[in-house]
């Protein structure tokens, strides 16, 4: 039987990235994937004839371009296309569009509030300053603050230097920022509720927090710190859907000699004498490897795929208590035409990008209240995108697919487990809300795929359907991610690593977690590093 140098569990984009870099360094790697298709949450699936849904993640801005460039992902078929125009809708039907010109944007804000139009400049500068610092850490392994190893001390000093370079005042502001709510943060800048709601909405996406909950300000930043070709805050689509990212990385991986096995779910990670030695597949097959890398989330890895007796005391509890609450659902809709929205001009650059059904700060908070009580939100916050208006390959010409990210949707309902009937009722809630802003919307629906946390967990394997593989709050960020003392991708079992979004820098299709983990593995193997540094040094 073949013994691999490394087995990576899960063919999501981070697992594939990790494997690609290990293969590039000359390792004999195997990626095992439970589904019959690869991609994890970065997938494209033809769910209806001619319609290709990005079933889970749907937009992209965090993808490290140094990795894109280094793995030559364009050659492997990946093209990232920016899209334009997001409209936000208020409860009263009021709308605010996003113009692709600073002047038009300013004029619009001035019409709402001259004060806010002015404050926007300071807001953007402050966000850019915060984002710039975090961006620099994305392709770096967090230092262990309690360690005295030269590498950790050096990295801590670097981090301290970066923080100090903000200046004393901003340093205090920054530390405050990490624990603030999106609402409190925005109150310092804006007075208009729709502007605040529009800005606050990224602060709760994928997180079991409300806009008034401490910690949501950082999540806001996490969503705007990405970029498309240096346009910070811009969002892109992968041509052909998010699966194009996974497929390009997989193609780079196989070019370097790596192997991928689908329909190969892992039952257990095998541990012998305190060392990971391989995996047992669901079908009973045993595979051996010098190294096992889990791209599954921390909770799933330790509580479901390992024997409790193999773990040092405390780790099991840490994993069990890892904050990975499911809070969102997804409704993918095939449409026979482009939906028209009330109070949105027929301007092709703004009427077909994204739609943010935010309502108001109050409405978003009420939506969160439902989640707390174990119900899906009756008046949910929906973030929609119509990728087919920008990518000609994902729907038949003139017809469209609309991705609707829905917040909030609990993993377990107060009145018992999810059923197909409840799932469909949840879907109805979503389309009812959209219909309110787009009369006739329902008549355009050709096909619909409703995904609650239950479906997301069952299909992708994300615990509770949490899109970030663990929440992005300060207690689970940087050297705390996934657990304090284990933030450098090495796990308590020898020869075992983690490379998924449960590790630094967290959720989002960035490839950073997988690449950082590969770098650490290569250090342990005393092999030359194959992982690039980030491109953003002089910004």
């Amino acid at each position: 039987m073949t013994k691999y140098d490394a087995i990576i569990i899960g063919a999501g984009h981070n697992g594939l990235t990790n494997a690609a870099y290990l293969a590039k360094a000359g390792l004999n790697v195997l990626v095992v994937e439970k589904n019959e298709y690869i991609g994890g949450a970065a997938v494209t699936r033809e769910m209806h004839d001619g319609w290709f849904y990005s079933s889970c993640s749907y937009v992209c801005s965090m993808m490290r371009q140094s990795i894109h460039r280094d793995l030559n992902l364009t050659k492997h078929g990946l093209v990232l296309v920016p899209y334009l125009g997001t409209v936000v809708f208020a409860d009263n039907g009021d709308t605010m569009v996003s113009y692709n010109s600073e002047e038009a944007e300013y004029n619009q804000l001035r019409r709402r509030s001259p004060h806010d139009a002015d404050a926007m400049f300071r807001f953007q500068a402050d966000l850019a300053r915060y984002a710039q610092l975090i961006r620099k850490t994305l392709l770096r392994t967090p230092p262990d603050p309690t360690s005295f190893r030269p590498r950790d001390i050096k990295e801590l000093l670097w981090l301290a230097k970066e923080f100090w370079s903000l200046g004393e005042k901003e340093l205090y502001e920054y530390i405050r920022f990490f624990t603030m709510s999106a609402a409190d943060f925005l109150d310092d800048y804006f007075e208009d509720d729709l502007i605040k709601a529009a800005m606050a909405s990224p602060g709760v996406i994928g997180t079991a927090l409300g806009v008034y909950s401490p910690g949501s300000a950082y999540i806001l930043l996490h969503h705007v710190m990405g970029d498309v070709d240096g346009n910070i805050g811009a969002w892109g689509l992968a041509r052909g859907g998010m699966g194009a990212i996974s497929h390009a990385i997989a193609s780079a991986l196989t070019e370097h000699g790596g192997e991928i096995r689908t329909n190969a779910g892992v039952d257990k990670i095998t541990v012998k004498n305190g060392k990971a030695v391989g995996v047992v597949l669901d079908n009973g097959d045993e595979l051996h490897a010098d190294i096992v890398v889990s791209n599954m989330d921390a909770k799933r890895t330790f509580t479901q795929c390992m024997d409790k007796n193999d773990l040092p005391p405390g780790i099991y509890d840490k994993a069990k208590n890892f904050k990975i609450r499911g809070s969102s659902g997804k409704v993918n809709i095939a449409l026979s035409g482009l939906p028209k929205f009330n109070n949105v001009p027929d301007n092709r650059y703004i009427n077909r990008g994204g739609q943010g059904f935010v309502g108001s700060m109050e409405t978003m908070e009420r939506a969160y209240d439902c989640w707390k009580h174990g119900r899906w939100s009756e008046d949910p916050f929906i973030e929609s995108v119509i990728p087919s208006a920008w990518d000609p390959t994902v729907a038949p010409p003139g017809q469209h697919w609309m991705s609707n990210f829905v917040q909030y949707c609990p993993p377990v309902l107060a009145d018992g487990p999810w059923t197909p009937e409840k799932r469909d009722a949840f879907g109805q809630t979503v389309i009812n809300k959209i219909e309110r802003y787009s009369p006739g919307f329902k008549d355009l629906i050709v096909h619909m795929e409703v995904r609650t946390p239950h479906e997301i967990e069952a299909e992708v394997g994300l615990t509770e359907g949490n899109i970030f593989q663990g929440e992005l709050t300060i207690d689970q960020l940087l050297f705390n991610r996934p657990f304090p003392g284990y933030a450098q991708y090495r796990m308590p079992i020898k020869n075992m690593y983690m490379c998924g979004s449960s590790t630094h820098p967290g959720g989002g299709v960035s490839s950073a977690c997988g690449a950082n983990a590969a770098r650490e593995i290569l250090i342990d193997l005393k092999r030359p590093n194959t992982v690039p540094e980030d491109d953003f040094y002089d910004e």
């Binding site: 371009q65 894109h68 460039r69 992902l73 364009t74 093209v79 990232l80 296309v81 920016p82 334009l84 692709n100 010109s101 498309v228 070709d229 240096g230 346009n231 041509r239 650059y349 208006a389 920008w390 990518d391 000609p392 390959t393 010409p397 003139g398 491109d535 953003f536 040094y537 002089d538 910004e539």
Partner: protein, 406 residues
């Protein structure tokens, strides 16, 4: 209306730019009022956003107004012989309904301009180029009597239509069999309203992607526009300007006058113009054919070897090496060349450039000294450059017939 009447209404009429036949439609879409000029025409730098328009070229489809391009129809029994003496490539091999890329040189072998020749009939050619060339064409007829040159620059409207969905859009527009048109071939279609509005379609372009150029008499320009835009509505059609063209052509590795080469007839300083060899256009110069202009000077230039050679560079980091000097060492002590065009390539995710490098230094290291500014403060960095032998962007669909589904 006499010109004096115009003057009374608009005293600045003489200063205003000409408008292309497509202007009424394009002006509506130029939301940024980002106008530039080309050969006396009002010409868009971009319409909405240069990067968006660039992505339409790479992702969907987009039109570029090439009406300001210079177009000459050369007819008569001597037409072929005359053109063959003028350009460096052997066009006697060019078949009817084919297009070829050419350049022409001075007696000293310096490049005057590049362009394309369309063979529309046995004795009928269309020459297109960036700058007015009538005077040089006339000069080139010396000794040839049986030919006629007519400048159709203002009467023949043309639209470059580029991007992966172009073939589908043209099919939808009713151009039956367009998918079988091979690169550098010409085909004719009727637009439908009357017999005169014959549309010539060539599978050519300046983007390195799948694309076509559409040629029609000026009177039918708007009819063409409306039909094309109606068919393209669901395929992401968008006009693009100079800015996006410049991005796409650099990724394709195409040279631009005023960037990579200085037109010889406009060059003041001795040898500040270029030979085709310096521009890596050796393949355009055919010494096997009969005499052509600049032949002996070019033979000599070939044997001597070019002092500089145009190369494609992939540069580390993400700061475009615009107007950078190139060195053979990181310390920047020995200068070996200069960058002619540079950009961050959004599609390839690489920092790319075209550059003139001393041929003798091509085997060694190449370093670029890059200047950039950050919030008003200027910075510089030295970045290593790697040679690229192939175009940065060259999708299969650009060469395949049929091009296949986007």
């Amino acid at each position: 209306m006499t010109s004096s009447q115009v003057d009374i209404k608009d005293p600045f009429a003489g200063e205003r730019l000409k408008e292309s036949p497509f202007h009424p439609r394009q002006a509506l879409l130029n939301l940024r009022d980002a106008w530039s000029s080309w050969n006396g025409y009002k010409f868009a730098d971009y319409y909405y956003d240069e990067e968006y328009e660039y992505f339409c070229i790479r992702n969907s489809c987009a039109t570029y107004d090439i009406c300001p391009m210079q177009k000459y129809v050369i007819t008569g029994p001597d037409a072929e012989a005359m053109l063959n003496r003028m350009v460096t490539r052997d066009i006697s091999k060019l078949k009817e309904n084919r297009v070829t890329y050419v350049c022409w040189c001075t007696d000293e072998g310096r490049m005057i301009d590049d362009g394309t020749i369309f063979k529309m009939g046995p004795d009928r050619f269309l020459l297109t180029c960036g700058s007015p060339s009538l005077a040089w064409l006339r000069k080139s007829t010396f000794g040839f009597d049986q030919l006629e040159i007519s400048d159709v620059s203002d009467s023949l409207a043309a639209l470059s239509f580029q991007g992966p969905t172009t073939c589908e859009v043209l099919k939808k527009m009713g151009l039956v069999g367009i998918e079988d048109l091979k690169p550098f071939c010409i085909s004719y279609f009727s637009l439908g309203s009357d017999d005169n509005n014959r549309l010539m379609v060539s599978r050519t372009g300046f983007t390195g992607d799948l694309g076509y150029e559409l040629w029609i008499e000026k009177a039918y320009a708007l009819e063409l526009w409306d039909k094309l835009y109606a068919a393209g509505e669901d395929y992401g059609i968008q006009p693009y300007g100079e800015a996006a063209t410049n991005m796409a052509r650099l990724e394709a590795g195409f040279i631009m006058p005023g960037m990579e080469f200085n037109e010889a007839l406009k060059t003041v300083h001795y040898q500040y113009d270029q030979t085709p060899f310096e521009l890596n256009l050796d393949w355009l110069v055919d010494f096997k054919k009969p005499h052509f202009n600049g032949r002996s000077a070019l033979l000599e230039a070939r044997d001597q070897g070019a002092e500089y050679t145009l190369v494609k560079l992939d540069i580390e980091g993400n700061k475009p090496a615009e107007e950078s000097f190139l060195y053979s060492d990181k310390e920047c002590s020995k200068e070996i060349g200069y960058v002619t065009s540079a950009m961050w390539s959004p599609v390839v995710k690489a920092n790319i450039a075209l550059a003139m490098v001393m041929t003798s230094a091509l085997d060694g290291d190449i370093w670029a000294e890059i200047y950039y500014s950050k919030e008003l403060r200027h910075h510089s960095k030295v970045a290593q450059c790697t040679f690229q032998t192939h175009p940065f962007w060259s999708p299969k669909r650009a060469r395949a017939t049929p091009p296949g589904l986007y």
